[in-house]
Amino acid sequence: MPEHMSNPFGDFDKLSGDMYRHWEKAMTDWWDQILDDPGFLGAVGKNLEVGVRTRGTYQKSVDETLERMHLPTRSDLTRLARISSLLEDRLLSMEDTLLELGDKMESLERETIKARIESTETRLELRERLAGLEARLEALESKPAAKPTARRTARKSAARKPAAKKDDA
């Protein structure tokens, strides 16, 4: 027997789902017209304004009553909380300043260490050069009086020549 004949209600889920979606679409279409209507929005706005003004006035009168009874009001508590918030703000600013100072100190320290490393390296380099020069000097000094080289002899003989000319003169 086909399903629709054995089940007079048909598929209940499908039927209810379809009904819901039709209803939702109709309702949404209707609300869409209302919710975008400037007249409706104006009325809601006015209503909201009256509501919040009433709430404000009520709050003020509660505060005044409590004040007359020498009891702390909501405004008093808010003021105290605000003071602690402002103190917290100042602490945060100080924390910021400390962190920035820490950063600057760190960067200064880094630069100082870098400069010290550079100067130490330069000193080491100079010391090495000096040691090299000293070694060369010592080597030169420790050399026995060497026999004159050909060049030296030539220079010496060249130096002698003008003297000989003088003698000739």
Partner: protein, 346 residues
């Protein structure tokens, strides 16, 4: 003998009984949101900077600026539906700025203090922490909804705080915000009366307003539960979402006044002319690469409002549309995937 009651009707009745039992057990009250382990590393008034550490960091840390309208837990709703947990699994360290709920003492908190104070400070603290913990020199930033609008203002005024910016369902062209833009009309919306008399903008009023933005949403919610009650995992998800939407937060009054006046009334992020704490707000000054993410079914921030960033932002802007609504996009799988792809793309 044939059963006089059709099977589908029996099934329906059984479901109704089970649903009644489920609701009678008050499941929403028992739910715990935001269960991913984390540490609070900085506090500023009601705001908290929450640090979520991945087991194995692989990408640049991500700073998240949440909206001031609801709690941050929509990003960590439940296991398997958590943006934060998915990011951690992919190796992205997360720093999440939870604005908390404003108290009466915060009613005078200005938008300048919120953007140039709390937000900048949280970004700096996150950067400092990321550098010390991960050796990261730069962080990326993500802003969701109004948290994203504020983040864009912040990063245009304070360059160098983030390497890249992503905005999720964050309105920039507020006049393209659909019904919300129609409602936020200076002629009909009693902004000053609300702030002057109530101090902060009440969370309950905010919740009601959002519910009326989509009138079918409330009945749809219950119908959805009825229809999908037997689907594995759906009642849990429904319960967690319900618990999250039941906890709206108070918006600091003075901050709300300037936000609505400049963003909704004047559309100042696109049209300009907004001077915040003596400095003009100009998104054209923003130079870092930006990504605007919109949700296809978003009735609070339609894609036209989110993609206003393309016209307003000074740096290069990419746009992406994900499936889901304004809240639904946070609990689906496509958002974590898109964010992880963005993190890997750096």
């Amino acid at each position: 003998m044939n059963n006089p009651v059709p099977d589908s009707s029996l099934k329906g009745m059984n479901r109704a009984v089970e649903l009644a039992k489920f609701l009678a057990s008050e499941p929403v009250r028992k739910v715990k949101l935001g269960q991913t382990p984390h540490a609070v590393i900085h506090r500023d008034r009601q705001a908290r900077l929450r640090w979520f550490a991945p087991a194995e960091p692989k990408h640049a840390p991500l700073f998240i600026s949440m909206p001031l309208i609801n709690t941050w837990t929509v990003f960590d709703l439940m296991p398997g539906r958590s943006v934060v947990a998915a990011l951690l699994d992919a190796g992205v360290p997360v720093y999440l700025l939870d604005w908390g709920s404003a108290g009466p003492e915060d009613a005078d908190l200005t938008l300048g203090r919120v953007i140039d104070g709390t937000l900048v400070r949280a970004l700096k603290r996150a950067k400092r922490h990321a550098r010390a913990t991960y050796g990261a020199e730069a962080i990326d930033a993500l802003g969701y909804c109004v948290g994203g609008s504020f983040l864009s203002v912040c990063l245009s005024r304070h360059p160098g705080l983030a390497r890249r910016m992503a905005l999720l369902a964050a309105p920039i062209d507020f006049h393209a915000s659909g019904r919300l833009a129609t409602w936020a009309d200076p002629e009909t919306f009693p902004l000053d009366a609300i702030v002057d008399n109530l101090g902060n903008f009440p969370g309950a009023l905010m919740k009601q307003s959002f519910a009326w933005l989509k009138p079918g949403g409330q009945t749809g919610k219950w119908w959805g539960l009825w229809e999908r009650f037997e689907k594995p995992g759906f009642p849990e998800l429904w319960t967690h979402l319900e618990a999250w939407s039941d906890a709206p937060t108070e918006f600091p009054g003075e901050c709300y006044r300037e936000y609505v006046r400049q963003c909704y009334f004047n559309n100042a992020l696109v049209d300009g002319g907004w001077v915040l704490d003596g400095r003009p707000v100009d998104l054209k000054q923003g130079s870092i690469p930006a990504l605007a993410i919109a949700a296809s079914g978003d009735h609070i921030c339609p894609s036209a409002a989110a993609f206003g960033l393309e016209r307003a932002w000074g740096g290069p802007v990419e746009t992406v549309t994900l499936r889901g609504g304004h809240v639904g996009v946070c609990i689906g799988q496509s958002l974590p995937k898109a964010l992880i792809a963005w993190a890997e793309d750096a």
